[in-house]
């Protein structure tokens, strides 16, 4: 395809349209978050008066503020769940990619079934169980379901990556006199790390995104994550809608996603398609 041809123009226009369509809603939220309460209803795309008040209000009052505690909760819960999920999934993925055992397709098929499982069907029983054993409205209470629904994603992605690793290198290292631990640390771990990192990003995004468990298994800002906290924001008085504050909080939780996407675009694409297409 050459510059100046009709085909070239069509594809170029396509690219521009896709980029604008993908980014526009984020731009729009950012603009709302910078509007003053008086102008939030002016329907303009770009604010007439600019302000950072919406962001400041979110953190006013430290730990009693609307967003600080939920933000900490979101980060910690997603990080802990991601770490455990990758840890457990890498055992399973290693077994599936490397060892031969009966029940392999059962484990893979079971994970797939769980990836398709409707979370709403577990919410009632979990609510009841968590209250009975005292982990309702705690980090643990959210981490466990996140782990469950993130594991299939992690296992599928890791199996796809682990299959690509040239495991013969392990024996080669042993022949050269490396101990099993050295062979693992110096040869296998560096090869497995990129895949594990990619799986970790996908799992983190998954946990970061959850809303259903966050609103059903928590009852206070003690362990509520940002998506749930935003949904329960209230205006400063009964007569003001918290539009600006919600938009500001929404932009803040989008920042990590934007950073991930900017820095790890290739990895995310590879991870997303590895599990589904190569599996």
């Amino acid at each position: 395809m050459k510059r100046g041809t009709r085909e070239y123009t069509i594809w170029s226009v396509g690219i521009v349209v896709i980029i604008i369509a993908a980014l526009f809603p984020v731009f729009w939220l950012l603009m709302i978050s910078l509007k003053t309460p008086a102008t939030v209803g002016d329907k303009r795309l770009v604010p007439k008066e600019w302000t950072f008040d919406n962001y400041e209000a979110l953190f006013k009052g430290g730990f009693d503020s609307p967003l600080l505690q939920p933000l900490i909760n979101s980060i910690l819960i997603a990080l802990i769940a991601t770490t455990i999920a990758i840890f457990l999934a890498s055992f399973t993925a290693y077994a599936i990619a490397r060892l031969s055992f009966p029940g392999k397709s059962l484990v893979l098929g079971g994970s797939l079934a769980i990836a398709m499982f409707p979370p709403i069907s577990t919410v009632g029983p979990l609510f009841d169980m968590w209250r009975a054993i005292g982990i309702y409205d705690t980090y643990v209470g959210l981490i466990i379901p996140y782990l469950t629904f993130a594991l299939p994603l992690a296992i599928y992605t890791l199996v796809a990556f682990f299959r690509e690793i040239p495991w013969e290198l392990e024996q080669a290292a042993a022949v050269d006199g490396a101990t099993p631990l050295q062979a693992f640390r110096k040869v296998i771990a560096p090869l497995a790390a990129p895949g594990m990192f990619t799986a970790a990003i996908l799992v983190f995004i998954f946990c970061w995104n959850d809303f259903l468990f966050a609103i059903t298994l928590t009852s206070s800002n003690e362990s509520r994550t940002v998506p749930a906290a935003i949904a329960f924001f209230t205006g400063e008085s009964q007569f003001t809608a918290p539009t600006g504050n919600i938009a500001a909080a929404a932009i803040l939780v989008t920042i990590p996603i934007i950073l991930f996407v900017l820095f790890f675009q290739r990895r995310i694409v590879a991870g997303l398609t590895a599990g589904a297409v190569k599996g």
Binding site: I18, W28, S105, V277
Partner: protein
């Protein structure tokens, strides 16, 4: 991409080695089971056990507001749900949202995948841009669309799309339209990336040959691209259909189910969390679970064995 290779095929190749289980093979099995056990247990703890518990709860009269009236209820909860007009309205909504958004996503996703595949410049930029909707928190995206269409804050009513002040969330049709729009925006990139992965596996030489034989762009697409991408399309459709069927976040934020826009997940949530009626809510949960099973079954039947995991032993 291996599609129709059933697990047995790979196992059969390995069979000769396994005749008379050696000490080593037995140790390998044991290790494999030990490595899989923790993940399997966690997955079962939060899915199998709760769904069994939900089945038990659904057969009982259990309303946390009236704890004294608890007891065995047989199939009463199911009869209540299935004989209510609300349930069928809600199932209709969910199926409507699912079918319409998945069809639009498939078409748009295919176009975007083709653009990304053919792009000579800006390949990285496009991929980065489309990953934003994929990665963004669904609740955040829902608020963006809510504020765009809300007559009090949105610009949509000032554009050519809607010259007069339209209350988009004030009636069922337009509310469902915005809900579907939000779904499509959020998940088309995922569809596009899966389809793109399928596209890149197609041999360019086929297109060259077709071109030499005088096939135009449309013919090349229909005769080469589509048939070769059937497995990728099947996987993408299966994932997205079941995902769309669970739609919850966007509806919760945009209408909270008002104007008859509830999905099955919203209805389940309202019964369980809003009314604290664990019996009825669990019946709804079990019915949703059964519907997901049926959809998955139909897909696997309809598309053959083109499901990931089936071709695992390459």
């Amino acid at each position: 991409m291996s599609t129709a290779a059933p697990p047995q095929a790979g196992a059969a190749v390995e069979k000769p080695k396994k005749v008379g289980l050696t000490e080593r093979a037995r140790a390998e099995r044991k290790l494999a089971w030990m490595l899989c056990a923790p993940a399997v247990l966690v997955m079962l703890l939060v899915t199998a056990y709760p769904i069994l518990y939900a089945i038990v709860l659904s057969l009982q009269k259990k309303d946390l507001r009236f704890p004294d009236e608890s007891g065995f209820a047989g199939l009463d909860n199911y009869i209540t749900v299935l004989s209510s007009g609300l349930w069928w309205t809600v199932v209709g909504n969910t199926l409507f949202i699912t079918v319409v958004s998945v069809i639009i996503e498939l078409i748009l996703g295919m176009i975007i995948a083709l653009v990304m595949h053919r792009a000579i410049f800006g390949r990285g930029a496009v991929r980065t841009a489309v990953l934003i909707p994929y990665g963004i928190v669904t609740v955040v995206a829902a608020f963006a669309w809510l504020y765009a269409f809300d007559p009090a804050t949105g610009f949509v009513n000032d554009t050519f799309l809607s010259p007069d002040d339209k209350a988009w969330f004030g009636e069922r049709g337009s509310a469902l339209f915005v809900i579907i729009l939000a779904e499509v925006w959020k998940t088309t990139p995922f569809m596009a990336l899966l389809l793109l992965a399928g596209l890149t596996t197609i041999d360019e030489g086929l297109y060259e040959a077709a071109r030499v034989d005088g096939a135009n762009a449309w013919q090349r697409f229909v005769k080469i691209t589509l048939p070769l991408m059937k497995p990728a399309i099947a996987v993408a459709l299966l994932f997205r259909t079941l995902d769309a069927f669970r739609v919850f976040d966007s509806i919760f934020i945009m209408t909270r189910g008002a104007q008859d826009t509830q999905s099955v997940s919203i209805l389940g949530y309202d019964q369980l969390m809003g009314r604290l009626n664990l019996g009825l809510g669990s019946a709804v949960s079990v019915l949703i679970f059964l519907m997901v099973l049926v959809i998955a079954f139909l897909f696997v039947k309809g598309f053959g064995a083109a499901v990931p995991g089936q071709g695992d032993q390459r």
